[in-house]
């Protein structure tokens, strides 16, 4: 199983991601793109900003790709995660999987994005109208950053 996992800056190169998994023995390519949505939890999102522990994030993505290849008969995997600012409508993450048949390509791709969100060391900060906040339960208690906490409560 061939794999190519990268953390990158700037727009995700989706055609290159797909080209990386094309394979004469594959009948199916499934691609997932995660894009910045303009709303989240009732907030009007203006952009996301991603930070990664780059070498470990790439190594963890490689491990996931290998694990997927043990679970499903897939041919190739390509994963890319963008860091820095990601405006609304642009992709922060791309995962492409090729396989002989479509079921395993769909299942492996879905599993990879689920697992990526759980374990790959990447963090997003959401910038919205009136503030910003780290996403994920960063704290057991209430949000620590006064500006963000205040802004969440600001009526629109």
């Amino acid at each position: 199983m061939t794999r190519r996992c990268r953390v990158t800056r700037g727009r995700l190169a989706v055609p290159a991601l797909i080209r990386a998994v094309l394979d004469p023995a594959a009948g199916a390519v499934v691609t997932f793109l995660g894009t910045t949505r303009n709303t989240n939890a009732g907030r009007r999102v203006t952009r996301l900003e991603y930070e990664a522990f780059v070498p470990m994030a790439e190594a963890e993505m490689e491990r996931l790709a290998k694990a997927a290849a043990r679970r499903w008969p897939i041919r190739r995997v390509a994963m890319a995660h963008r860091i820095g600012r990601v405006p609304v409508g642009e992709a922060s993450v791309g995962i492409a999987v090729s396989a002989g048949h479509r079921r395993e390509a769909f299942e492996a791709c879905h599993w990879l994005i689920d697992r990526l969100k759980e374990i790959v060391p990447i963090w997003k900060r959401e910038h919205f109208r009136g503030g910003q906040v780290w996403i994920g339960p960063q704290q057991g208690g209430p949000p620590p950053r006064r500006r963000a906490a205040r802004a969440v409560r600001r009526p629109r």
Binding site: E51, F53, S92, K117, I119, P121, I122, Q138, G140
Partner: protein, 78 residues
């Protein structure tokens, strides 16, 4: 022995991206974290995971001289 520290996301904003620490032989990652929390009680509520030399470890993992210890808030990539 000397270990290097790395902090990310919300933790990085409080602790800076990097640090260094001298610890006794056999010190575990969990013990090191509790020492940091004693100095910075505002960290107490933080949910944290640990990686040593770019591999996830449990709090009971014993450190070695020269290790790079990374402290992660819950990840939120994707």
């Amino acid at each position: 022995m000397r270990v290097r520290l790395r902090f990310f996301a919300a933790l990085r904003e409080r602790m800076g991206p990097r640090g260094e620490r001298f610890v006794a032989d056999g010190t575990t990652v969990g013990v090191l974290w509790r020492a940091l929390v004693r100095e910075r009680p505002d960290l107490a509520a933080t949910r944290v995971r640990f990686a040593v030399n770019q591999t996830y470890v449990e709090p009971g993992h014993a450190l070695s001289d020269g290790d790079e210890v990374a402290f992660f808030p819950p990840v939120s990539g994707g």
